[in-house]
Symmetry: C2
Subunit: 396 residues, 2 copies
């Protein structure tokens, strides 16, 4: 990023930009009609077909009434390069000029890749992943209708794509792949399986932690906004399980997940993201859900790196968990334990054994981190293979 | 706005959009060069010339090196229609196609009006104010270099213009007048007079209160984010006076003021704005600074409307001022008193007598509110002339 101000620790310089229009609330799918360019040939992308059972498909088709629409179903969780390239071929053949993603983060992430790959010329689109998206020069415009609050993809310019052939899971980002608009209708989430609801809450929680749980840089707005999201997830998350028909609860979870990763809480502050990078390897190797990997990695990671994160862990203990009594290490231990318990409360197991994995999985993950040169992770670039191993061993 | 979800109180549907790019930090003025279209003929607008004494003028001119630049100095506090129309004439005569506002909220507000008025065709541009901006169909692109954190105009699509001839102060808003970019370099604020620093903190505080202090609608993220901004202003605001050379403090105040009115804390929640509407009349009649009028009106307004705002006043007392002991009305009174004391601590007087005004001013303001049909103000449209009078009488 940029140089700090006059001394350390201090807020870093930053460049914030987020042009995605958000249409929030029950019934808002119908509002997309005027947002799609007149005469556009539209590709509607979705996943396994749950939208046909909960009415979203019909609502979207009605809103697209005036347009030629080609459907591309079958974008899987952890969207695969191989699948997405089939969509790119159809986009070119059908002269599609607007994409509409209908689903969760995987469908939106996949649509971002398609938008860029369709205008990538004759070069191999895998290069987009190899360069992290820095080589994107143009992208098709697209919108999204979000049905699963979790990843924040609906209001950011990042994406993660998996190549099945090589078990690689790679992120990319570029300001050309912000959605033009995203519909957040919380009533669309009522039919989600509880596993996905729990995963989404954990995913959003860890997104906040990756941006918040580093070291203080005198950024009180960013800190308090991050804490506000964590507190909301802790209060409202369990209600999605105990009061699954409560629309207010669904609305608050949906908005929190979007705000967790639209960039605003991360401006000017150091960021970690080591839990995500290690988690990606667990998903690629053993097909755990993304949120499951985060729930496994984060508690151990906080424990292993408690010295570098001490000041922020104490702030987190006090402001998020109300832990202000006892000695410092006791408060830190309790805060990490509360975090693990919260993930379990949301139905997401936090130990490898819960997913049928043992120490052999740790060896495999660490080997892949080394092979992928992911051995300088975290806000201080000091999370090496040994630290990753130690973190995972605490969650056996 | 839109219908509430399934019952009252509940979050309202909303449409959020904010495409302004923010370049934040020391030295960021130089970063605007690539953001101004190649070949653009630029008008650089500013106020009384303080930017020539603190180096900002030279930094901006250097960043504009490759462009033809016409300067338009002299945009006054509470920017006047008459002044701005002179700029519109020059924009047309000189075929200007990009505007750059360098200054505080008045310069940026004025630039928004010029951007819209320059492309308003043959119609009278005052109609923009009469229609609140709904009749804007095009606007020149513009950016801003902010030198006074206060109004939030640098990251929103609203503006307030005064017509000197008739003492009218009118707001307008339109998504076509978002700045393309805004530079927030907190080091530019070191040379501000303390009166303007204090005014800015009070202005930002009341912006948050207008969006927060209504009634609960089960919007925990919006509430906590608003409270996070208020707490930051309370902590950091006095440091701008006691540690005027502290860049971190300036940075946090600058970011807080921008976040206070960029729309994000106000989504889906009821909003008040009665304090602003009454304050505008005080400024138009007696030329008080905008923030001075807010500091006079808000405490009385909270007192007069304590029943409709009771739940939120208690939440504010507890979360912002730590007032949790004693009976409800005592906590509410104490929270309002702390608010008044904070404004005074920032050097902004909260009583009409502090500005040499007496009960005659109240009569004059109420007469104007009635003349302007501003007698159904506030989130319940129940702030009539009598309520406005009662609020002002508490700040004699």
């Amino acid at each position: 990023m940029a140089a700090p101000f006059n001394r350390e620790p201090a807020l870093l310089n930053f460049d914030f930009y987020n042009p995605t229009q958000i249409l929030f609330g029950k019934g808002q799918i119908a509002a997309i009609t005027p947002l799609i360019p007149a005469g556009a040939r539209v590709m509607m992308l979705y996943g396994g077909g749950s939208i046909k059972r909960n009415g979203v498909y019909d609502e979207v088709k009605a809103a697209l009434g005036g347009h030629a629409v080609v459907e591309f179903p079958g974008i899987e969780p952890n969207p695969q390069y191989e699948t997405l390239m089939k969509a790119v071929e159809i986009v070119k053949a059908e002269r599609i000029d607007f994409l509409l993603a209908v689903g969760g983060g995987s469908v939106i992430d996949g649509t971002k890749f398609i938008a860029a790959a369709a205008l990538f010329g004759d070069a191999d689109p895998w290069l987009i992943l190899e360069k992290g998206g820095r080589n994107i020069a143009a992208a098709l415009p697209f919108g999204s209708v979000l049905t699963l609050p979790a990843t924040g993809s609906e209001m950011n310019s990042a994406s993660v794509i998996t190549r099945a052939a090589t078990q690689e899971k790679r992120p990319f980002a570029n300001r050309l792949v912000f959605p033009k608009f995203s519909v957040l209708d919380p009533s669309t989430t009522f039919t989600l399986p509880l596993r996905q609801v729990g995963n989404g809450v954990v995913d959003a929680f860890v997104h906040v932690m990756e941006q918040y749980m580093t070291h203080p840089v005198n950024a009180p707005v960013q800190d308090r906004w991050a804490e506000g999201l964590l507190l909301t997830l802790i209060e409202e998350g369990p209600k999605t399980l105990s009061e699954p028909d409560n629309l207010d609860v669904r609305a608050n979870i949906m908005w929190t997940a979007t705000m967790a990763l639209n960039g605003v809480i991360g401006v000017g502050v150091p960021q970690d993201w080591s839990t995500h990078m290690i988690g990606h390897e667990l998903t690629a190797l053993y097909h755990l859900d993304h949120a499951q990997t985060l729930a496994v990695v984060l508690p151990g990671m906080l424990t292993v790196r408690r010295e570098a994160k001490r000041a922020k862990l104490l702030q987190y203990a006090a402001r998020v968990w109300g832990l202000v009594e006892g000695d410092e290490d006791g408060r830190i231990d309790a805060a990490i334990e509360r975090t693990r318990a919260f993930f379990e409360q949301m139905g997401v197991k936090t130990r490898l054994s819960g997913y049928g994995l043992d120490a052999g999985a740790i060896d495999a993950v660490v080997n892949r981190l080394e092979a992928h040169k992911l051995v300088k992770l975290g806000e201080h670039r000091d999370v090496d293979a040994a630290a990753s191993r130690a973190a995972l061993q605490l969650s056996l």
